[in-house]
């Protein structure tokens, strides 16, 4: 049986070159029983190595993968993936690239 596949629309923005952010769509991602972070890693390995995101402890301790999925702020490593996803960076911080934001303000 073929596993059901998800599609994700992922926020892409490089402040150095792009004027405006854009959303890129990736399909055919196995998602059942996987976290959002697994989905991002899958996209990175299979489709697009230029996708930037933080993948640190993968168990909900560090908060490095804080982002917004379908408008809801979550930790990507803890949130189960759904069939339709819009993945965006954390809205409160400055964007470094794609889903990576500048957490320096927290540390201060």
């Amino acid at each position: 049986m073929k596993e059901e596949q998800a599609t994700a629309r992922i926020f892409r923005f490089d402040p150095a070159t792009d004027k405006k952010p854009k959303y890129q769509k990736y399909g055919n991602i196995p998602y059942i029983g996987r976290s959002v972070l697994d989905v991002l890693r899958y996209v990175y390995e299979e489709y697009d190595q230029s996708l930037a995101f933080r993948r640190l402890c993968t168990k909900g301790c560090c908060g490095g993968c804080a982002m917004r999925v379908n408008g809801e702020p979550i930790l990507a490593c803890q949130k189960l993936a759904t069939q339709e996803m819009v993945i965006e960076p954390h809205p409160k911080f400055k964007i470094i690239r794609d889903l990576v934001v500048d957490f320096d303000e927290v540390e201060r």
Binding site: A16, Q49, S50, F53, I96
Partner: protein
């Protein structure tokens, strides 16, 4: 405070380490080479090959002399063929995950080779280390395997374990 004082005094008595400029230059070149290269092997491909080697030759219960030697051959093959052609398709220096993983690849190959060589040297079974051709623990191997880089080769030797609190006989009782 005492520790800080001790550390400071000890540091004063130490000699400054000389940095080997040639080595720095070589490492720099090796590190940034994947960014300059326009084509070759991607890290993902190398990673899959490494996983394949470990899955085939480093089984939990199926390790034999032959399989470990085969594994060493294959990982040395990756070191010789894939690593010098490693490239990062993303050239952006801002949070470039692929470039980071290219740097990692060198260390991963080193680690896997050490794993294989040490397992090959330890001709016994102990804990999680199970050799099909030597299924029993051997008291001769109450030793730590140490590995050192000599030139471009790995030098391995075993040193007896220093037991500070318990002796192995006591624990077994």
């Amino acid at each position: 405070l005492i520790a800080g004082k001790e550390a400071g005094e000890r540091a004063r008595g130490m000699k400054k380490v000389q940095v080997d400029e040639k080595q720095v230059k070589e490492l720099r070149a090796r590190t940034f080479e994947p960014l300059r290269r326009e084509g070759g092997v991607k890290f993902i491909e190398v990673k899959r090959e490494m996983e394949e080697i470990l899955n085939k030759h480093f089984l939990l219960t199926g390790k034999t002399k032959a399989s470990l030697e085969k594994g060493i051959d294959e990982i040395v093959g990756i070191r010789k063929e894939a690593l010098p052609r490693l490239y990062s398709s993303v050239k952006n220096l801002r949070f470039n995950q692929e470039f980071l993983e290219c740097i990692e690849a060198f260390n991963r190959v080193d680690t896997i080779e050490m794993l294989f060589r040490a397992a090959l040297m330890r001709e016994e079974s102990r804990g999680l280390h199970f050799r099909k051709d030597y299924p029993d623990p051997n008291p001769m191997w109450l030793r730590n395997v140490l590995i050192q880089k000599v030139g471009s080769e790995m030098k391995l030797w075993a040193e007896p374990v220093e037991f500070t609190y318990f002796q192995p006989e006591e624990v077994r009782k």
